[in-house]
Every structure is written in structure tokens, then in C-alpha cells.
């Protein structure tokens, strides 16, 4: 749960570059979720000359946790609730508005979204901008005119379901999910028809095989055997309010025809109310986008006792692991381990901590299971379990997607250096109210700083460099063929760093903490631009960072930078 937002953009345009190449048509730029751009005008040698060239207030204060799209010299920006969609004309001076789409969104959604009324962005497909409204609807809007083409109700607010997730469109399927791990939802993924918005299939993340769409001989988890795993790993009926929301990011491998996404925490937080592994919460699932069939699944944190959602992105890359070229999926989990997995089978190849971890000693890659420190297990009968690392904010927040550069072979990500005390209490499920059962104050981890931006070698599972930050780092990253990586901080610095060394090349103080995801694109003038949003909602004074209010407040501004 927990995160608020800011957005930043960097744009750089290679002169004469094809429009397609400099576009940003989907949340993570590509299906592999790399957030890598092959634009190379901005480099280590000239990044120090970056300057702001445009800014725009969306009129909404609060977490702008998504990223805009840029398609054919139009920039599309979705705001947090009330989920306004702006289209800006990048071919004209001052980037004037082409049109604005202002949907009607049920204001009750803002009180049912666990962690601010955020939105993770839109997807461009076949002339349509597709995105989710917070109140449980998916809409398709004509990219050229702003006209609403269809609107489909996908989720039920009265059951605690809200929909900040960004869709992924594969061929003619729009893939969507719902948040609500703090409200005891029965988590699912749905496939809609791109032309009409009709719901074609619904796949639950927990429950009987018939609802999970786990079919005999097709569903082959690498480490698990047997049928009805989504039932037998739960007490009777508890799975019906067992959580497993979908609020992070999705990716897709066209060769394997597999769609990947992570599920959130089991509900409630108090694990003593849900004995068993609680599959498939805190897991990665691989499905066929056409009909939702489950092909494999792997649970990062069995019987999650710490709110370790696995909602972080699954980045697809070709790496050398153990001397062999492998088609892998790389995932930085809230639980503090970075996983490098075979994306065809779900086998764990490498699992190493990327931050300080003490709830588990290691991950046994032979069994796929973490070796848990039993003194860190939580539960209402265990009282206040002190000093668990990392916190439920995650070693990395799923809301802050990492980037991967095939040029450097490294992954770039924002991390948190925090630990927590965890006092679980018995929770009562009351529809429409939170279903949590834990009090979890945070404190700084080893070293005293609260966050860092790091580079990670996923082939061996090792940190390559790190830049510490006084506050947790909650922005996404983008890395370019100029070997420059961009990120923002909660105290409002938007930074460019050398992708090979981490050296900070340039920084600019925006008006609020950065919690959105920077992108880079080619302008109509052929130059490279970088974009960032700066609205952070850190709700100062947070008790674990009381000083944050001296550096930032809520914002809602989109920035564009260029040379």
C-alpha cells in the first residue's frame, strides 16, 4: 500500500528521428517494461545543461504516480482522482491543450483507495487512450478528439475495490485489475475487448482452480504440485476476502505469449487469521492474455506476515546467468529480495537481497522458498515484533518502477532503507471499511538514511553502485542510450545520473516530492525531452520523517526538461 506522487519528464529529440522511436505509448515504454529509451541526445557530457522548458499544473493535488504518454507529438496526462485526461499539442509553442476529458467519478472512491487517490497512467492502442477511473471503471477515449468510446464497470466499490492500476493492452485485450488488499477484496484480473469494452474473462488470484483459470496439464508451477492450490493453502472460506489485489505493473512476452503481473498482500495483515501459504497472494502469475489461462505462478512470500505485496514490475530481459544466456524476468520485491527468474517456467535462478533484510535469512532456490527467521513472524498473539527489515513500504516500492538498460546490463531503482515494528491485531471484515489489523511504525535502517537510488546486476544478484538519499525514494526511473538515468526524490530534486557510475550530473528542485515516473521523448522539433511530475503526497509530518514538511508539500505539476 502507501505511496503518493510526483511526475517528471525528460524529453530529448534526435534530429530527424522517427516519431515512433521517440514516442512513449505505454506505461513502461515497451512490453518488456524496461523504461529504457534509445534516445541519445542527452549524455553524461551535456546533461549538466538541462533546463526546464515547460510546466503545467494539473489542478489536482496528490500522488501523480503514473507517467504521461507521448504519441505522434501529443502528450497525454492522466491525473489522480478525478482522473482528468489532458492531451497537449507538442507541435505548437507552449504545448497548448488539444482537448480535455473530464469523467464523472464517484467521490466515494477516494475514501476506499487505501493510499491516496492515485492513478498509474494510460495505454495507447489503435487510436484509443485506455485507462482506469478510480471508482472501478475502465474507459477508452479517442486519441484524436477526446471523445469517450466506451466505459465499462469492472470493479465494485462497495466491496472495497478501487482501480488505480494502468491497463496493459495486448492485441485486442485490455488487461485490468483492482486494488483493495486493505479492504479484504477477492483479487482478480480481467480481460476486456478493446473495441467494445466488454469483459471477456475474469481470473481470480485466489480460490478454486475453476475461478483461478488453472487448467490441468496447462498450469505448471515450477515448485508446486497438486490441484486447488488457491483453496488448500487457506482456511475454509477465508480466501473469499483474502486480498491479492492487482495494483502494480504488467508486462508481456510476445514470443511466449505470456502476460506477467504481481499480486498484493493477503488480507488481513494479521496472519493468524489465515493459516497456510495463501496462494496466490504476494506472487507472480503468468497468463495467456487471450483467455486468462494460468500457465505458471510463483509465490515470493508464502503466508506473508509483513504486507509484502509482490506488485512490483516484472522486467523482461535477456541476461547471462551462471554462464548461460537466459530469457529472464527480474523483480524487486517489497520483501527486499531481487529475483531473477526463467520467464518461461517460473524457476528462480538468482534471489539476493538488494536492501537489508532480516525476516528471512535467504531464498532457497532449490525449493523456491524463503528461509524465514521465526522471531520475525508476526501475529496478534505475538505482540509487538520489533525491528523487521524492510518495512511494508518495501525494500523498493512497487509504485516506483525500475528501469533496465541493455547497454549497461544494469537495473536502476529507487529503494527504501527502513525497518518497522509490527504489532498485529485481530481484524473484523466489515464491507466498505478497511480490513487490516496491524500497527507498523517505521524507523531508519542501518546508516540512518531513509532511501537510496541503486544500480543492480541481476545476472549475479549484486549491487553495483548506490546514491543515498535522506528520505525514502518513491519515484520511478528511466534510462537512455545516452547512458543517463533519471529519478526524483521526496524532497523535490529531479536528478540525472551517469548510468555506469551513479555520479549525479544535474539536478533541479521541483515544487513537490517526486513520486511519478519520468519518461523521455522526441519533440516535434526532433529534440529529446524529459518529463517529470512533482506532486508528492507524503502527508507530512510523517512520524518516521518529521523533517519532510520543511522540504516539500503536495503538488501537481508536470515538468518538461531539455538541453
Amino acid at each position: 500500500m502507501t505511496r503518493m506522487a510526483v511526475l517528471t519528464l525528460l524529453a530529448v529529440l534526435p534530429a530527424g528521428g522517427a516519431a515512433q522511436r521517440g514516442d512513449w505509448p505505454m506505461p513502461a515504454k515497451d512490453y518488456a517494461a524496461t523504461r529504457y529509451s534509445d534516445l541519445s541526445e542527452i549524455t553524461g557530457a551535456n546533461a549538466g545543461r538541462l533546463r526546464p522548458v515547460w510546466s503545467f499544473s494539473t489542478g489536482v493535488l496528490g500522488g501523480h504516480e503514473g507517467q504521461p504518454l507521448v504519441v505522434e507529438h501529443t502528450m497525454y496526462v492522466v491525473t489522480p482522482y478525478p482522473n482528468v485526461l489532458y492531451a497537449f499539442d507538442l507541435t505548437r509553442e507552449g504545448y497548448p491543450l488539444k482537448w480535455k476529458y473530464r469523467p464523472a467519478v464517484d467521490p466515494n472512491a477516494t475514501g476506499i483507495a487505501c493510499c491516496d487517490a492515485i492513478n498509474r497512467g494510460a495505454f495507447y492502442a489503435e487510436g484509443k487512450i485506455v485507462y482506469n477511473l478510480l471508482d472501478g471503471h475502465t474507459v477508452a477515449v479517442a486519441a484524436a478528439t477526446g471523445q469517450e468510446l466506451w466505459k465499462t464497470r469492472i470493479a465494485d466499490l462497495s466491496q472495497g475495490e478501487t482501480t488505480p492500476v494502468a491497463p496493459l493492452v495486448v492485441k485486442h485485450r485490455v488487461i485490468v485489475g483492482a486494488s483493495g488488499g486493505e479492504f479484504g477484496i477477492h483479487g482478480w484480473l480481467k480481460g476486456l475487448d478493446l473495441e467494445t469494452g466488454r469483459i471477456v474473462w475474469t481470473a481470480y488470484n485466489v480460490g478454486p482452480d475453476s475461478e483461478v483459470l488453472a487448467k490441468p496439464r496447462i498450469f505448471k508451477p515450477f515448485y508446486d504440485r497438486g490441484a486447488e492450490l488457491g483453496l488448500t493453502s487457506w482456511p475454509a472460506d477465508v480466501w473469499k476476502n483474502g486480498g491479492a489485489p492487482v495494483w502494480g505493473w504488467m508486462s508481456y512476452d510476445p514470443d511466449l505469449d505470456l502476460l506477467y503481473y504481481g499480486t498484493g498482500n493477503p488480507a488481513p495483515y494479521n496472519p493468524e487469521q489465515r493459516a497456510g501459504d495463501n496462494k496466490w497472494t504476494a506472487s507472480v502469475l503468468a497468463r495467456r492474455p487471450e483467455d486468462g489461462t494460468l500457465v505458471w505462478a510463483y509465490q515470493f512470500t508464502p503466508h506473508d506476515s509483513w504486507d509484502y505485496d509482490a506488485a512490483s514490475e516484472m522486467i523482461l530481459a535477456d541476461l547471462v546467468v551462471g554462464g548461460r544466456p537466459r530469457k529472464v524476468l527480474v523483480h524487486f520485491d517489497k520483501n527486499g529480495f531481487a529475483y531473477t527468474m526463467d520467464r518461461a517456467t517460473g524457476e528462480v535462478l538468482v534471489a539476493q537481497p538488494f536492501v537489508d533484510v532480516n525476516w528471512a535469512k535467504r531464498v532457497d532456490v532449490a525449493t523456491g522458498r524463503p528461509v524465514v527467521d521465526s522471531t520475525k513472524l508476526t501475529g496478534a498473539s505475538r505482540g509487538n515484533v520489533k525491528h523487521v527489515c524492510p518495512t511494508l513500504e518495501g525494500g523498493k516500492s512497487p509504485a516506483s518502477p525500475a528501469a533496465y538498460s541493455p547497454r549497461t546490463g544494469l537495473f536502476y531503482l529507487a529503494t527504501n532503507n527502513m525497518c518497522m515494528d509490527y504489532q498485529a491485531t485481530r481484524a473484523t471484515r466489515i464491507a466498505g471499511t478497511p480490513f487490516i489489523g496491524a500497527n507498523t511504525p517505521y524507523h531508519a535502517g542501518r546508516g540512518g538514511y531513509l532511501g537510496a537510488f541503486i544500480a543492480w546486476d541481476a545476472g549475479v544478484g549484486k549491487k553495483v553502485w548506490q546514491t543515498t538519499e535522506p528520505f525514502p525514494v518513491w519515484s520511478g526511473a528511466v534510462v537512455t542510450a545516452g547512458d543517463v538515468v533519471f529519478y526524483g526524490t521526496l524532497d523535490g530534486w529531479f536528478k540525472a545520473a551517469d548510468a555506469r557510475t551513479g555520479k549525479v550530473l544535474w539536478r533541479f528542485k521541483v515544487g513537490s516530492g517526486v513520486v511519478g515516473n519520468p519518461i523521455t521523448f522526441t519533440g516535434a522539433d526532433g529534440k529529446q525531452y524529459v518529463r517529470s511530475d512533482d506532486p508528492a503526497d507524503v502527508r507530512p509530518p510523517a512520524d518516521f520523517m518529521p523533517d519532510i514538511a520543511r522540504h516539500t508539500s503536495q503538488g501537481g505539476i508536470v515538468w518538461v526538461f531539455a538541453l
Partner: protein, 146 residues
């Protein structure tokens, strides 16, 4: 316990004044805690909190604040999280005894569930007592003033 007859008396008197209060609730749809709507008819409005200043009632209200999942939105100690702080001295929908009671009983826009279908009036008054017992923090975030 000794206060219970007093509450009943107040509830009865509220029934007589309820029609004045009802239209002020606005027309936006509310969320109902547990899916249970408050009883139709007479809103149990009263002019004052029968437990005001009673420490035992405040302690019972604090327990209810956790048991009914209020802390899941308003934060432990009601310091604010997704839902606003309830101890910063700022009341979006009115801070009189009866106005706080009505916000809990009928809910409010932006997701505050109506608890009137689940909680008896006495338990709601103890919640009000608990909230009134809280000291405002020294540093109040800007955004809570919007």
C-alpha cells in the same frame, strides 16, 4: 452504565428534531459499513454528547475506533491517513457534538461509511467522546486545510 438511561432519553428527544437534520445530509451516495443502511426514519440527533469529558467512555470509544476499522483510514490515534485527521481541530462537516455524531451515523462523501446500521447510538457517542479527548498536534499539514 449509569449513563444509559440518559442516552435513551436523549435519543427520544432527538427523534422529534430529526426532520430538521435530515435534508442537510446532502444527496451524494454514501458507503454503508457492512452494507447495512442506518434505520429509516428518525435520526437520533441530540444537542450534546452525553459522555463529553468522560474518560471511561473515551477509552471505550478508542477501542471501537480500532474494532470498527476507523483507524484503517484515519490512522492510529486518528492522526489522518487516507481519511483526514480527526484531531487537528478542523471539521469538514461540522464539529459540534451532533454534527460529529451524524458524520459517523450517516457517513459522508468521499468514502466515509455510514455506521448507523451497525453501531448503537451509545457506541457512536463514545467514539465522539474519544475524538474530542484528543490533543491537536503541534504541526498541522497544509493540505488538511483545503
Amino acid at each position: 452504565m449509569g449513563l444509559r438511561p440518559l442516552i435513551l432519553a436523549l435519543v427520544v428527544s432527538a427523534a422529534c428534531r430529526g426532520h430538521d437534520a435530515a435534508p442537510a445530509m446532502g444527496h451524494e451516495a454514501r458507503v454503508f459499513a457492512g452494507g447495512v443502511t442506518p434505520p429509516a426514519g428518525s435520526p437520533p440527533q441530540v444537542s450534546g454528547n452525553p459522555f463529553r469529558g468522560d474518560r471511561q467512555s473515551a477509552a471505550e470509544g478508542e477501542r471501537t475506533f480500532g474494532v470498527m476499522n476507523c483507524d484503517g483510514c484515519h490512522g492510529g490515534g486518528a492522526v489522518g491517513w487516507v481519511g483526514p485527521s480527526l484531531r487537528d481541530g478542523r471539521w469538514r462537516y461540522g464539529g459540534s457534538d451532533g454534527e460529529i455524531f451524524q458524520s459517523i451515523y450517516y457517513g459522508q462523501p468521499h468514502g466515509m461509511p455510514a455506521y448507523g446500521g451497525l453501531l448503537p447510538a451509545g457506541a457512536i457517542w463514545k467514539l465522539v467522546t474519544y475524538l474530542q479527548s484528543l490533543e491537536p498536534p503541534a504541526n498541522v499539514p497544509t493540505q488538511s486545510w483545503k
